[in-house]
């Protein structure tokens, strides 16, 4: 466990995660979101999607988990919000790689705003992904 200093501009954590169709089925079961666009190509195609998509809430969830160990205590998180701006298409064979980066975007006396960037290929898939945290554990 580390205690990140959370100074303006500091990179809190970074990671690359590989999603497969199994990841989506696992998230469906754990979350209870069984919308078929997250595991059936035929349904995704019928509703006009470019392919089977990762759940937006999976992307949101794995993005914030990137910083929990660095924070040391999930209880430091006061607020977390995202906009779902671009889909993550998870190929049946190749899956999808997401790169998550967390950087301190603003600080005041007691709290810091950590900006999460989630990149899939050349696109950023979450908008305004911001976590407001207590600066001290």
């Amino acid at each position: 466990m580390t205690s990140a200093p959370l100074e303006l501009g500091a990179v809190v954590a970074e990671r690359t995660v590989h999603l497969t169709r199994e990841s989506l089925v696992r998230y469906a079961g754990a979350s209870g979101d069984f919308n078929a666009i997250h595991y059936r190509d035929d349904v995704a195609e019928r509703v006009g999607l470019p392919g089977v998509l990762a759940h937006g809430m999976l992307t949101m969830g794995l993005a914030v988990e990137t910083i929990v160990d660095a924070l040391g205590d999930a209880g430091r998180i006061l607020e977390y919000g995202v906009r779902f701006t671009r889909p993550v298409v998870v190929d049946a064979e190749d899956g999808a790689d997401l790169v998550v980066s967390a950087k301190v975007g603003a600080v005041d006396d007691d709290t810091a705003r950590i900006d999460l960037t989630v990149t899939f290929g050349d696109t950023t898939v979450l908008g305004k992904a911001q976590v407001r945290v207590r600066r001290q554990a």
């Binding site: 995660v17 990841s23 696992r26 998230y27 079961g29 754990a30 979350s31 209870g32 979101d33 919308n35 509703v47 937006g56 809430m57 999976l58 949101m60 969830g61 794995l62 914030v64 988990e65 929990v68 160990d69 040391g72 205590d73 999930a74 209880g75 998180i77 006061l78 607020e79 977390y80 919000g81 995202v82 906009r83 779902f84």
Partner: protein
């Protein structure tokens, strides 16, 4: 989209008992690695009674309110025409295994958007003592009627 949903009173959901294995299952699903989600001793070292749920686990409880909303016959909301546009959580404390949570739904905003509407749905999640745990807010883009 039925504008009368704004300000309608909904009953609180049935209580949801947060299980330790459910927390671990959810943590694995969001590719978490922090020990506080898996190991009761690690969570206790931070002052929690049992394993700490990942921040977005609150969605599992909020979903009970989404089911209430979708069950309303005159809501004008159909899942296949609904897109999750935005999600926010405001925490008083993390959810911990052993919590018995209930959620109170309210619709706090409806505004026209193209042929459909942007709907803001809020779930206030409280524990068995009635203390606030987390408020989960979803913005849904609800499509217009399919002709």
């Amino acid at each position: 989209m039925n504008p009368e949903l704004l300000g309608r009173a909904f009953p609180p959901t049935a209580s949801y008992l947060v299980g330790r294995e459910k927390v671990r299952e959810f943590a694995r699903a969001v590719l978490a690695d922090a020990p506080q989600h898996f190991d009761p001793a690690a969570a206790q070292a931070l002052g929690y009674r049992d394993v700490v749920a990942p921040p977005t686990f609150a969605m599992v409880v909020q979903d009970l309110t989404m089911q209430q909303l979708l069950a309303i016959e005159d809501s004008g909301i159909a899942l296949e025409r609904t897109v999750h546009a935005e999600q926010r959580f405001r925490y008083s404390r993390p959810i911990v295994a052993g919590d018995e949570l209930t959620a109170q739904l309210s619709i706090t905003g409806i505004r026209a958007f193209g042929a459909g509407a942007m709907v803001t749905s809020e779930a206030e999640i409280t524990d068995a003592e009635g203390a606030h745990v987390v408020t989960a807010t979803s913005v849904l883009l609800v499509g217009g009627e399919v002709s």
